[in-house]
Point group: C2
Chain length 571, copies 2
């Protein structure tokens, strides 16, 4: 540890801790605002990097994130490993068998949403290179190829997340979009690998164009034929004869690192090896769900935030912000991709509204566009201004996707149980001990908490008419009450705990210690049914009841609900 | 990514992949030989480092693992983060509430097994410093303090694993040993932190002895009082308001990185911060089992092997091997710790045999001794020869612990279901379709496979007498047969799959497609009961039956058994 002694180690750990903390906090804020978390993670880097901290307190920035020396190498290496593992997990999540689920429609969308933006991007860059502030030593042909790729890429993870949010993932629409996005990912990244090979060779760094491109295509071919079969064959040996799941996790990571080293060595980039190996591994039905889950959770919660935050450290997003360029790139990207996606959907005989929605879905570029821009920036084929424009385009298109699909398709959002709980709707100690008293006590609270949104007298009227309150069940210690209410647009659940217990009648010996009152929109009985079913499922478990009774605050109660295994497995 | 461009990145990824692959393969081999996996992981570094690869192919070694430059910094940084996370997980696993489970006995063992080796180690180093080939600029007092610590440390993780292996973990003996080891860990590392603070100050690197020591003690005090309470308070907020479990995992890692940065900065070492923070987090009942599991699995299966392998890269274990020194250190370490542990146990009124076994248990030094040696090596207070001696002592004492306890206490090892399956005992297609035919077919195979160990006629006699074969159950598609057999010392399970199905009689419409024949030692009916219970539990699940029927080889079948969730949760 010569190069990195003591003080450096302390600073490195502090830098990693601070970067991860900022990325997690801002990522969570973005998520709560229903935005992609990569937005918050990038912002963390922008805050701690040259843009903000570097301007306000340059010494602090240089102390934490020096541009040169052993610490810079160390941070770079960690960011490099992080992006490698992130792409491996992204590859794992690509389920190739999905491409064929809607037959030709998905494929048509996939082809059109690559071909049209690719052609348009190439034409713009070739015809109007002066817009892009091209470094003088960059070949216009290569730059045009790069911009063509940049216009045509989609981000599968963002698309999947948006579809899940909108409850469209399992619809016909969702299946078409996902299969198109998988096709887009696969073909787009293969073309990009080839283009990167060309770029390096033209820059005089590579091993000859033909060699690089054939090695790249040979690697991809190998991974998807022999490699895929070998992995499928080897996984049971790993599971049967090594410590599980540690052995399986190690196996996947080793393969990704070696694949990444190979693609980096042949002159494309490490991420391709990791991504294609991830796809090959994820394709094996032998890969166990638990290993996949651990890889996914750890990488997404530690390595991806670190990587995306580290991008913000590289560029000053204010001085390198060029409004006109941002506008051009953003508009061009949206138009190409909307036309491409919609044309593909029309070609697959989808309706007009749906075709437009397909266009907006495919337009989400998220993390993939950012990584693509970063690679081009590192090779010196784009300016920092264009990189900033690509990052902003990536984020804006990802943010637009959800709201636009919502607007066009107006799908029924699925109410989530966890969203139905509210701070004031948790009563740690009920005073009433009869069912009628409890209903009065609970609805009074609802009136206070939702006062603005909900007229209290409506609720109290509802509560006073016992025929409107259905007693769903009293099982073990739990009493479930449900009522349809006017004037609310989403369900609410009031939760009460009772030490003395609540009885159905004076005579009843069975008393409930946990009481839920579910209030759902009167015109949507399905929601009420969903809520009753989910709560019943969660509270089948005696441990869950015991833990609920120990909850001392709303936060502890909500933490319990959100982390309970049953609830999670359903997601 | 200036400092680490392309070719360097490829080499770094290759180096990490190769190191992790070697560490996992050798670690698994060690585990199969019932040795601590850290032994194999260290050997991986020895193979790829100066000892073997550096001697046979110095260019390859310098290419993969250069001693200087940006790649060396990068590898060092990754190893540094790895050991930080490893110590965090080690801290998580320390369950402080255990210390009090056996009242004073564990505490007495803990005190004696630190105090006696500490005194002896100090006396040896102070009285005979010439043995240890002391660097001339090292203060004899500090060296004596270091050796005192080195003699008195135990390794909780190794001890827990050995006790689990011997089925002693939940026995009174196990509880005493674990609580003593926890006390040892806690107190030993606090003293070591203080000693390291002293060392740095004497070397002129620190902030003044009083300041360093008070900061170190202040940090520990803070972590275990206010810090512990704060963490306990904050965890429900993290669970309730961030994406779960990613938010919780990130929270724990951020705290560990920041704690590590602080302890490194005050002049002790990063690992202390991570270890104590890990203990404080692990102490909160709010920490969810799933987050703990993901942290544990990912860190143990990726970061720990990388770290331990990287240790092998640092020293040439052949040229720096000094037989006499190894012998002295090993004997001194064993004697001190055996006397200390046994004396403590006697003081706690344990029997003589048990007291001796306690001594051997506490003597396991594992990873902790190696880390301690590494820190001293990096500070230049011990020679490479003494480091090699400490590593060898750590490994030998860990390897001895299990066999010696086995010899002294002779506990009944619990038969594990997965060990009862054998390559030849899996019949993917049964020919017979009656229960009698199946028993004949299966026992014939047993005769072939275990021929050497088991006289075939014994088995065939058993099989011919149907009254000795109990039909445990035929539930769904599964038929469980069990028989007590002479002349075997462990249970075996023969597994057969049948497409046509096996009926209990000609008339029977219910046919079994999965058949298990459990052969267990006749004189141990408890084992048979355990096996029947475990198989029944596993095969309650229809998915498990379906997957079993799809298994095409013994390996696929064993992989299924070992990775099935129910089986795992029991561990």
């Amino acid at each position: 540890m010569d190069a990195l002694h003591q003080h450096n180690t302390a600073i490195l750990l502090l830098a990693l801790g601070a970067l991860l903390a900022a990325a997690k906090i801002l990522g969570e804020l973005a998520r709560r605002l229903r935005q992609p978390s990569v937005l918050g993670e990038l912002l963390a880097g922008v805050l701690l990097g040259p843009t903000v901290l570097g301007t306000l307190a340059p010494e602090a920035n240089a102390f934490l994130f020096p541009q040169e020396g052993p610490m810079a190498s160390a941070l770079d290496a960690i960011a490099g490993v992080a992006v490698t593992l992130f792409l491996m997990v992204a590859g794992l999540e690509v389920d190739l068998s999905n491409v064929w689920r809607k037959g030709w429609v998905g494929l048509k969308v996939g082809v059109a949403s690559i071909a049209i933006p690719f052609g348009a991007g190439f034409a713009i860059a070739w015809g109007l290179p002066q817009i892009f502030d091209l470094p003088s030593d960059v070949s216009p042909l290569l730059f045009a190829l790069f911009l063509a790729i940049a216009m045509s890429i989609s981000a599968l993870p963002v698309i999947v997340k948006t579809l899940l949010d909108l409850n469209l993932y399992r619809s016909d629409f969702g299946v078409v979009v996902v299969s198109a996005a998988i096709f887009n990912d696969l073909v787009g990244w293969i073309i990009f690998a080839v283009v990167l090979g060309l770029i390096d060779n033209v820059a005089g760094m590579g091993n000859g164009i033909t060699l690089t491109v054939s090695l790249a295509l040979g690697f991809i071919l190998f991974v998807f034929t022999i490699g895929r079969k070998l992995i499928h064959r080897l996984l049971p040996y790993v599971q049967a004869y090594t410590w599980w799941p540690g052995g399986e996790i190690g196996f996947v990571i080793i393969l990704s690192l070696l694949g990444a080293a190979f693609t980096e060595w042949i002159g494309i980039h490490a991420i391709f090896g990791a991504f294609f190996i991830g796809m090959a591994v994820g394709d094996s039905p032998h890969l166990r769900r638990r290993s996949r889950y651990i890889l996914d959770q750890f990488v997404s919660s530690v390595f991806s935030p670190l990587f995306f935050a580290s991008i913000g450290l590289k560029v000053n997003f204010i001085t390198r912000f060029d409004g006109v360029l941002v506008l051009i790139v953003f508009v061009a990207a949206c138009v190409c991709k909307l036309v491409g996606g919609a044309a593909g959907a029309k070609w697959g005989r989808m309706g007009s509204r749906e075709s437009l929605a397909v266009g907006f879905a495919m337009n989400s570029r998220g993390a993939m566009e950012i990584i693509l821009g970063l690679l081009a920036l590192e090779r010196g084929i784009i300016s920092q201004e264009l990189f900033v424009a690509l990052v902003i385009t990536a984020i804006l298109t990802s943010m637009m996707g959800g709201p636009m699909m919502q607007l066009i398709l107006q799908p029924a959002r699925k109410a989530r149980l966890e969203d139905a709980f509210r701070f004031g709707l948790f009563l740690p100690e009920l005073r009433a001990d009869s069912i009628k008293g409890v209903i009065e006590e609970m609805t009074a609270v609802v009136g206070q908490v939702l006062g603005g949104r909900l007229e209290p007298y409506v609720v109290s009227r509802v509560s006073c008419a016992p025929e409107d309150v259905a007693c769903a069940a009293i099982v073990n210690d739990v009493l479930l009450l449900a009522a349809g209410v006017d004037h609310i647009s989403q369900p609410y659940v009031v939760t009460g705990l009772s030490t003395q217990g609540v009885g159905l009648s004076f005579m009843d010996t069975q008393r409930a210690h946990v009481v839920f009152l579910i209030l759902s929109p009167k015109n949507d009985p399905a929601i009420r049914g969903d809520m009753v079913a989910e709560l019943s499922l969660l509270y089948r478990d005696q441990a869950m009841i015991d833990q609920t009774l120990q909850a001392r605050s709303f936060t502890e109660f909500l933490a319990l609900i959100r982390t309970s295994t049953v609830y999670l497995q359903k997601e």
